[in-house]
């Protein structure tokens, strides 16, 4: 994989162990991971260079993971970037409890592209990442402008 073609993966987690583990794992697999310890940091990184995939630890304190997910899906330039949610709670319970299918305003919030239970199998994660990165990315004009 040439350097230019490396897929950029934004990993967002407030727990350094998760962050380091995921970054090392992805780097070893030839991806270009960028780490964000906070949602603000994540947004700034996404603004400066939109990633190909975002992996969010949904167990971040004060529901920050959910806020970040809404922010990504509610902003035109980022709404089509695939998101992988990592969570210790079983998918249905989590979605139901946090009413993740809707924005606070009531409009529909798309479901994440993947949802993995922690602790996850590294193979499963890598398989998901590879699947999502190999899918043809649809670029919006805004994304093109930002990347330019």
């Amino acid at each position: 994989m040439s350097k230019e073609a490396k897929k950029r993966i934004l990993v967002v987690a407030d727990d350094p162990d998760t962050l380091i583990f995921l970054a090392n794992l992805l780097r070893c697999e030839g991806f270009d991971p960028c780490e964000a310890e906070s949602t603000v940091d994540a947004v700034h990184q996404a603004k400066s260079r939109p990633p190909d995939i975002v992996i969010i630890d949904m167990m971040m304190a004060e529901e920050r993971g959910i806020h970040l997910y809404r922010c990504l899906k509610g902003n035109e330039p980022w709404k089509r970037i695939p998101v992988i949610m990592l969570c210790t709670i079983e998918r249905e319970t989590f979605f139901q409890f946090h009413n993740i299918q809707k924005f606070p305003s009531g409009r529909a919030l798309p479901l994440p592209d993947a949802y993995l239970m922690k602790p996850f199998e590294t193979a499963a994660l890598l398989k998901t990442v590879k699947k999502l990165t190999s899918a043809r990315r649809i670029q919006t004009p805004a994304m093109k402008r930002m990347e330019a």
Partner: protein, 1137 residues
């Protein structure tokens, strides 16, 4: 629904059309997307112009309107109104500025037309994306705040009050009235300022709708137009409003004189004062700064400034009574105190410290204690034992007795006084002084048991059995440290100095030997040496192991000893005492040199090898330190001791390890000063009282911490006018006469010397808290413990009328202000001419003593001092020409028509009603007008005619001639400038300052009374220099503005405010920190930031920084701004740019 846009371009008469081909722009716009109708018209803002828009909206079904004309500030509201009348949301309108931005600033017609087209295209493209916004209305609180009680503030408050609305009038000074009430007459009608000002002040006081906060300042303002919450800080006056009758008896009693701010420093006032007799409120005020450094330095907390001031007034008895509030032994401490107060005295910054200790002694010596009445004591049943009758014990006994407790004082010796009695020689402290003061203490009803030794004759258990509820231990440090050198135990000739002094003081006047050596460098060593000399010793030598610099004895004592012929061997340490048949024959010593500092900070003496030598002597008096006699400690095992062999106590409450036992003095601190023992005694007294009252001792600790002196105390500024004055020195007996007697060496001050010395006090704390005013006040209006308080009020709008400061001309050294005594500012002249001023309204100048005695025979009045001057203020101060004319008239009228008055002007600006006529009148009165600014004022005479005069140097620009005009008096018409606190006041109220420092109005013509903050108006000289008629007119205008809000009851607030999209907010709270108006709050439950729409001003700070893009300003959303830019970019091609 797709957009249907109507476009209109205005000719603005020819303002736009002379440069822009408006028809061409209209035709261009017609081609653009969604434009349904496009027109040009002569005056779009006229009624027909607006009707055209309304009609088109109806006929063409327009849902968007763009007008290209002047600027939004002028007519956006006009066209929004037209849209609204036709049923269109006003926010569906957009304006393009083609006058200010195009026709007025573009020279070329083609270029102007092209630019107008692009701006029109931008507005049209933008309006496509406009949202319909709801207009918002908020309720307006009916009450109004007026800040500043000068003529503007009073007028505004009266106008508002008369309408029936409640007004809060806040004035930072003690009286309302402002600068105008400092003036004598007012131009051009020459009515007396007080005659027209005081009725207004009285009306303010009597208007039931006005609540006056005098001597108060606004601390904080929160909220928004219609709903402000204002925190007003009421400074303590220390005199109760409504109780004070304004009789003024207190000022007669007050000993402290300082310069009067109301008289701008040319007159004096007392520490308790009222600005002028007609002040409103009439209540007096006490000027208190932080406690003077002498007071806070005194370990016993004696009110030093207070008693010094009473001595100044000749009130010696009152002075002693004030000292006695904290010190039972004024005569004793007046002699032996090491005076830490003098160390802190600020008089040193001018010359040298006030001789405070000698003043105390002087006062104590003046008063016959027999005549000093003992205050009534309310007896209490609780018994307290005081062990030890030194300074700590006497303090505890006396003040506990005054609190009513039954005191028994136990003393091991036959006489009372402790170390004062047996440690200090009579020539320093005559025993009769001590007897007299102890006698007074005992007269309060204290039982005494002498020759009763604690530990030997009684124990704590005995006391408890006898019903003593609390015990105070002040047994001192009477045992001596040992030298630990060979020969110390020789039976004859080695006497420890403390013991020696005790024997002598108790009457054994036998000399210790013929050749006496004293070992040590403290006060005991020097005392022993001087006493030995007085007892007839031929030679007395003091041996000290460090140098003179390190000696802990008081410098004056060392000096006295030297004068009396006592020898000193510095840098000498004792090694061995030589003896023969049990008698001392000499002291072997070794030389030392100073090494590095030890734990006490003093340099450690290091012996020099081989330098041993013997000082022949027959007596050795070691005086190397004292400690507490611990022989009794075994009997009291519960008492804890520190590793320094002193009693362990709580440092604030002096409580020992046994709850009902307290201790202070040398037994706790180790050997220390008398005044420290008194201070510690006071702490114990306070704690014992709390203990016996069953209160928590911890609270006492908190209170004492709260009362500790300020970290950065604010004291009275040292007046520049104070000349150095020598510190008084009391007379001393000649050294040769001293040696034959134990009579006191130092005599007291004479009364004249004492009063003169007391006058040197700078009154750092201003009020000296002598309480003379309290005694003088029949109405009981004075409360020295008054605290400031904060009051919160709610108002709908605010009027700022904070006035101006007069520029201090002293930095302009060429005019000699403060250098020559007869150069005055305009305001100083006003006070000289005012009947309530320091000269009672006579225009007088200073004589060589600085007193106002002489009439000026000639006066120069200099215009434009600091104004119309690029180095200071570029602006014209507007009033100086007119008040200068008024001065010319007043001088002619009051001093005499033969007085030569020279008026140096640049231009005479007599612009108001009746002003030019007044100018003519003054010309006819014979004033000499010289066109030319004075370049400098000098006293260097070039000919005899100029001798002793001030010479005004100027160029007469009409004659083209240089002039030197000798005069007696110079008046500088210095500039009005913005208040020094304008920055802070502006910040509190959200009002900006202009380049000149004055508050900035919203628009000089369209909003001269409005400010950048809605609902905050300005009036008077805080906005810029102006005369009284203009100020009053503005004040009424501002009142009308505030009233129009209040009477309507609601106000429309802009809808162009921020909004945070909760869908995408990540809750980072960046915006909360950025918002200058505190308009954003965090919703903890939802985890997102929320805008308080009522408080938001729509500044856009939050939207600029919001990382997630959630914060946006309505009507200025990203897509709207980008659409405007896209419109321009797209049009560039079309117009051929």
């Amino acid at each position: 629904m797709s957009a249907r846009i109507g476009f209109y371009i205005c000719h603005c008469g020819i303002n736009i059309a002379y440069r822009v081909r408006v028809e061409e722009v209209a035709a261009f716009a017609r081609q653009l997307d969604n434009v349904v109708v496009s027109r040009d018209y002569k005056f779009m803002c006229s009624d027909p112009g607006q009707e055209m828009i309304e009609k088109d909206i109806q006929e063409y079904g327009l849902n968007r309107v763009v007008v290209a004309s002047c600027s939004p500030r002028l007519h956006e509201k006009t066209f929004q109104g037209a849209c609204q009348r036709a049923g269109l949301n006003p926010y569906c309108f957009q304006m393009a500025s083609v006058r200010e931005q195009v026709s007025w600033v573009t020279a070329d017609e083609d270029e102007a037309t092209r630019k107008a087209k692009t701006l029109a295209a931008a507005a049209i493209n933008r309006v496509n994306f406009h949202d319909r916004l709801e207009t918002r209305e908020v309720d307006v609180h009916p009450d109004i705040l007026v800040v500043g009680g000068g003529i503007a503030g009073m007028q505004a408050a009266l106008d508002i009050g008369a309408s029936g609305h409640k007004t809060y009038l806040v004035e930072k000074d003690t009286t309302i009235g402002g600068h105008m009430l400092q003036f004598d007459k007012t131009f051009p009608t020459l009515d007396c300022a007080a005659c027209i000002g005081t009725p207004k002040m009285v009306s303010v006081a009597q208007e039931k709708n006005i609540q006056l906060f005098s001597y108060s300042e606004v601390k904080e303002v929160s909220g928004y137009i219609g709903n402000y919450t204002v925190t007003i800080h009421k400074k303590p006056r220390y005199v109760k409003e409504g109780v004070c009758t304004g009789c003024g008896e207190c000022t007669k009693a007050c000993p402290v004189t300082v310069s009067s701010e109301w008289d701008v420093g040319i007159g004096d006032r007392k520490a308790i004062y009222r600005a002028f007799p007609q002040a409103v409120p009439i209540t007096f005020c006490i000027d208190k700064k932080d406690r003077a450094p002498c007071v806070t330095a005194c370990p016993a907390g004696i009110n030093v400034q207070g008693y010094v001031q009473l001595i100044k007034q000749g009130k010696f008895k009152e002075s002693v009574q004030l000292i006695r509030q904290r010190l039972p032994l004024p005569g004793v401490l007046g002699r032996v105190c090491p005076h830490p107060c003098e160390t802190q005295c600020r008089r040193k910054e001018i010359d040298s410290a006030v001789s405070i200790r000698n003043l105390k002694r002087f006062a104590a010596d003046q008063v016959d204690l027999e005549e000093l009445e003992i205050s009534a004591i309310e007896d209490r049943p609780e018994k307290v034992a005081v062990i030890g009758s030194g300074p700590a014990g006497l303090t505890a006994a006396y003040y506990l007795r005054l609190k009513g407790f039954q005191i028994t004082l136990f003393e091991s010796l036959e006489k009372l006084g402790g170390m004062l009695r047996v440690g200090i020689p009579d020539y320093r402290l005559p025993p009769e002084i001590l007897d007299r003061e102890i006698g007074y203490v005992l007269n309060t009803g204290i039982e005494v048991k002498t020759q009763t030794r604690f530990g030997a004759d009684f124990t704590l258990k005995d006391l408890e059995a006898q019903g003593f509820r609390a015990v105070f231990i002040g047994v001192g440090a009477h045992a001596s440290m040992r030298l630990n050198i060979p020969g110390e135990d020789l039976s004859e000739g080695v006497v420890d100095a403390v013991q020696f002094l005790r024997h002598v003081n108790l009457g054994d006047r036998k000399p210790p030997g013929k050749r006496v050596t004293v070992i040590g460098g403290g006060n005991v060593a020097i005392d022993a040496a001087r006493v030995a000399k007085r007892l007839g010793a031929e030679t007395v030598t003091v041996v000290y192991r460090r140098s003179e610099q390190e000696m802990p004895a008081y410098a004056e004592e060392i000096e006295g000893a030297k004068e009396e012929g006592i020898d000193f061997c510095f840098l000498t340490a004792p090694v061995r005492i030589h003896g023969q048949s049990g008698k001392v024959t000499g002291l072997e010593c070794i030389r030392t040199e100073l090494g590095p500092p030890d734990e006490s900070g003093r340099r450690r003496p290091v012996p020099v090898e081989g330098s041993e030598h013997v000082i022949p002597c027959d007596a050795v008096l070691p005086a190397i330190g004292q400690r507490t006699d611990m022989s009794w400690t075994e009997k009291e095992p519960d008492l804890k001791w520190s590793r320094y062999r002193t009693l362990e106590v709580h440092p604030e409450t002096m409580q020992t390890s046994i709850p009902h036992v307290f201790a202070a003095g040398d037994a706790v601190s180790g050997p220390a000063t008398v005044i420290e023992a008194v201070g510690a005694g006071h702490r114990a007294v306070a704690a014992i009282q709390r203990f016996l009252d069953g209160e928590n001792l911890g609270a006492a600790v908190e209170a004492s911490v709260a009362a500790s002196p300020e970290a950065a105390p604010e004291w009275r500024d040292i007046p520049e006018t104070y000349a150095p004055a020598r510190r008084a020195v009391p007379p001393q007996t000649a050294p040769e006469q001293r040696l034959s007697t134990f009579d006191e060496v130092e005599a007291a001050f004479s009364e004249a010397a004492a009063v003169q010395e007391a006058e040197r006090c700078l009154n750092c704390g201003v009020c000296c808290e002598c309480m003379e005013c309290v005694n003088a006040c029949e109405a009981n209006a004075i409360d020295h413990w008054m605290k400031g308080e904060d009051v919160q009020v709610k108002v709908g709008s605010i009027i700022l009328a904070t006035g101006f400061d007069l520029m201090d001309p002293s930095p302009m050294t060429q005019f000699g202000y403060k250098k020559y005594p007869n150069v005055y500012t305009g305001l100083e002249f006003e006070r000289l001419s005012n009947a309530t001023g320091p000269t009672g309204g006579q225009i007088l100048i200073r004589d060589e003593n600085g007193d106002f005695t002489r009439k000026p025979r000639s006066v120069a009045i200099c215009h434009c001092i600091g104004s119309r001057d690029v180095n200071y203020h570029e602006y014209c101060s507007r009033v100086c020409c007119m008040y200068a004319l008024k001065y010319t008239h007043l001088i002619k009228e009051k001093v005499g028509h033969d007085t030569r008055v020279y008026d140096f002007y640049i231009d005479q600006r007599c612009f108001g009603k009746g002003y030019e006529e007044f100018f003519r009148r003054c010309q006819e009165e014979g004033t000499i007008f010289i066109r030319g600014k004075v370049s400098d004022i000098t006293d260097e005479a070039l000919d005899p005619e100029e001798a002793g005069k001030l010479i005004a140097v100027a160029e007469d620009t009409l004659l083209g001639r240089r002039l030197r005009v000798p005069v007696d008096m110079v008046i500088l018409c210095s500039a009005m400038e913005a208040r020094k606190d304008a920055v802070d006041v502006g910040r509190i109220f959200g009002v900006n300052q202009g380049a000149d420092g004055f508050f900035l109005e919203e628009h000089p013509k369209l909003g001269p009374l409005n400010t950048a903050t809605d609902g905050v108006f300005i009036a008077g000289t805080c906005q810029g220099p102006k005369d009284i008629p203009d100020t009053v007119a503005q004040a009424s205008g501002a009142a009308a503005k505030a009233l129009s809000l209040a009477t309507r009851g609601t106000v429309e607030v802009p809808s162009t405010i921020s909004w945070i999209d909760p869908d995408i907010c990540i809750g980072c709270q960046t915006c909360i920190g950025l918002c200058a108006y505190s308009a954003i709050e965090f919703d903890e439950r939802r985890g997102v930031s929320v805008v308080n729409e009522a408080v938001c001003k729509g500044c856009g700070s939050c939207s600029g920084f919001c990382p997630s893009g959630a914060a946006q300003v309505r009507h200025f959303k990203k897509k709207q701004i980008f659409a405007e830019l896209d419109g321009i970019m797209d049009a560039l091609d079309a117009v051929g740019m």
